[in-house]
């Protein structure tokens, strides 16, 4: 590992020097879209990749690519070791006591579908309740809608407050009769940090399993499933410096052991006859077909990179950037920021500017080299609730700087000038 494995400072955040060293690891930050330096403020959608991740995958393809498991030759053994080592790294990273509890899937979406299919179809019946929240990403909503329709179950939603936090006053009533409580750890639209430990505990006392969408949490804060005491948790590699095409479903071992397969075929079987088969133990039972081996290696390298920095520092730095952004953007006239105050949020900021539609604002920012997301952020019902068709979302990560926030502010001022807004 070249850089970032030994931080230069022991401060609890990142110094400008640390950030400069981190930025040097991200080749894409040297790109100049429209002739401008790339200001990448869309990491909540997908983060950029450090050379350590790119090289780990490159090295795998150059030196030891082969299909894993059962290959009786050296490079297949190397590939198998690397794939399983990545699983162990992920397990340690999220505080899982057992690597077999980490299932490699395509992304968090597939992980959540797996739970809805394999656990949900076994346990949810007519009249049962599936509890969600009003701030779920479509990926933690649509699989449950389909399960509810199939099983004639009822969907309920924990409402949100005006400032975009979960309103937990009626949680006990909502949890009555619930088999599943699925919720996000961090809102991808509002940046709200939810009290996962409390929510999981209350699900448990109501007899429901807890399913945590941790897509926005795992990249940006210390996550420990043993502390959360949840039952299932899913996240994607590509939002945490790793490659696309791989994600993780974590589940408590006894739950996973009791579940039937989701996708079926090679690699997930024990004994196969023409008429019937028995299935492999977890995690193999849920990893049918040749998995994303290079991507697992890349994810392992991303975990190493983040652990080299320390998740506490990642979280604190992002919090600092969020504070700066809230202060500077909040001081602009005709800018509305959605979501809670700094103490309950992370570096994901959704806003609107006067009557400028999010896409127009994003187009103008794009010409300045600034990448933001515009639209409903896979969160259409929440947008309806906020009463806006779309917002513009800026999200920050370890390679962003306060100077980039200044550029965002200037870009917004420019958009206001073009749209003739004071």
């Amino acid at each position: 590992m070249k850089v970032a494995s030994k931080p230069a400072s022991v401060s609890q955040s990142l110094t400008p020097h640390d950030v400069a060293r981190i930025r040097a690891n991200f080749p894409i930050l040297g790109e100049r879209p429209h002739g401008k330096p790339l200001v990448f403020l869309d990491s909540a959608a997908s983060s950029q990749k450090p050379v350590q991740v790119i090289e780990a995958m490159d090295d795998y393809y150059r030196r030891y690519h082969a299909n894993i498991h059962r290959g009786i030759y050296h490079i297949s053994e190397l590939a198998t070791e690397a794939y399983e080592e990545a699983r162990s790294k992920v397990a340690r990273f999220i505080g899982s006591p057992c690597a077999a509890e980490c299932i490699f899937v395509r992304n968090a979406t597939e992980g959540l579908n797996l739970v809805a299919y394999a656990w949900g179809r076994q346990h949810v019946g007519r009249g049962d309740v599936i509890l969600l929240t009003e701030m779920e990403h479509h990926s933690n909503l649509v699989p449950w809608q389909i399960l509810a329709q199939e099983r004639e179950a009822t969907l309920r939603f924990v409402p949100i407050t005006k400032d975009g936090q979960l309103d937990l006053r009626s949680l006990d009533r909502l949890l009555a009769g619930a088999k599943i409580f699925a919720f996000t750890a961090v809102s991808n639209t509002l940046g709200t940090i939810n009290p996962v430990t409390e929510l999981a505990a209350r699900a448990k006392s109501a007899g429901a399993v807890s399913v945590v969408d941790a897509c926005q949490a795992v990249p940006r804060m210390p996550v420990d499933v043993t502390q959360w005491q949840c039952d299932f948790m899913a996240f994607s590699s590509h939002k945490m410096l790793g490659p696309t095409g791989i994600g993780v479903l974590w589940g408590r071992k006894e739950l996973l052991d009791s579940m039937p397969p989701f996708l079926t075929g090679g690699g997930m079987i024990n004994v196969v006859e023409y008429e019937r088969s028995t299935y492999a133990d977890v995690p193999a039972r849920f990893e049918a077909g040749t998995p994303a081996i290079a991507e697992a290696v890349g994810l392992g390298a991303a975990v190493d990179y983040l652990q080299g920095i320390g998740m506490e520092r990642v979280h604190n730095y992002e919090h600092e950037l969020a504070q700066i952004a809230l202060d500077k953007l909040g001081a602009l006239s005709n800018v509305t920021i959605y979501g809670p105050g700094i103490e309950h949020r992370t570096g994901v900021i959704s806003l609107t500017v006067g009557d400028i539609h999010a896409h127009d604002l994003a187009s103008i920012l794009d010409r300045l080299g600034i990448c933001v997301r515009a639209g409903h952020h896979c969160n259409q019902p929440l947008m309806e609730k906020l009463g806006v068709p779309a917002t513009t979302r800026a999200s920050f990560y370890i390679y962003n700087t306060p100077e980039e926030i200044d550029l965002l502010v200037r870009g917004i001022e420019e958009a206001k000038r073009i749209f003739k807004i004071a």
Partner: protein, 132 residues
Amino acid sequence: MQDDFSGMEELYRDFILDHYRNPRNAGTLEGADATYEDNNPLCGDRIRMDLKLRDGVIEDIKFKGRGCAISQASASLLTEVVKGKTVAEAARIGKEDVLENLGIQISAARLKCALLGLKVLKEALSLAAPDL
């Protein structure tokens, strides 16, 4: 460093902003011969058009929508263009005509915004005059 804002004015000329903020033929029509509504699921732009025909001519047209300046201005401009035209003439309007009317550079990512109004118009026309 980032003082070069050229091209931005090209993207949002005054008449685009004018059509966005003061859309022409805005609203709905009582007793319309055809109504069609569509949206762009990726960005949430939404447009509805109502048509009234007499003797093969678009006697009246109204639209209602929400979305970005480009989608709304494009739809507004289109209603001005087709009002009073025959159905056959309106049906011949193509993508290039719409972009030429807008007269601005549209990036690939925004093409769907610019062309949503045309898509809705075509669907409404085929409802109103299925034989065409």
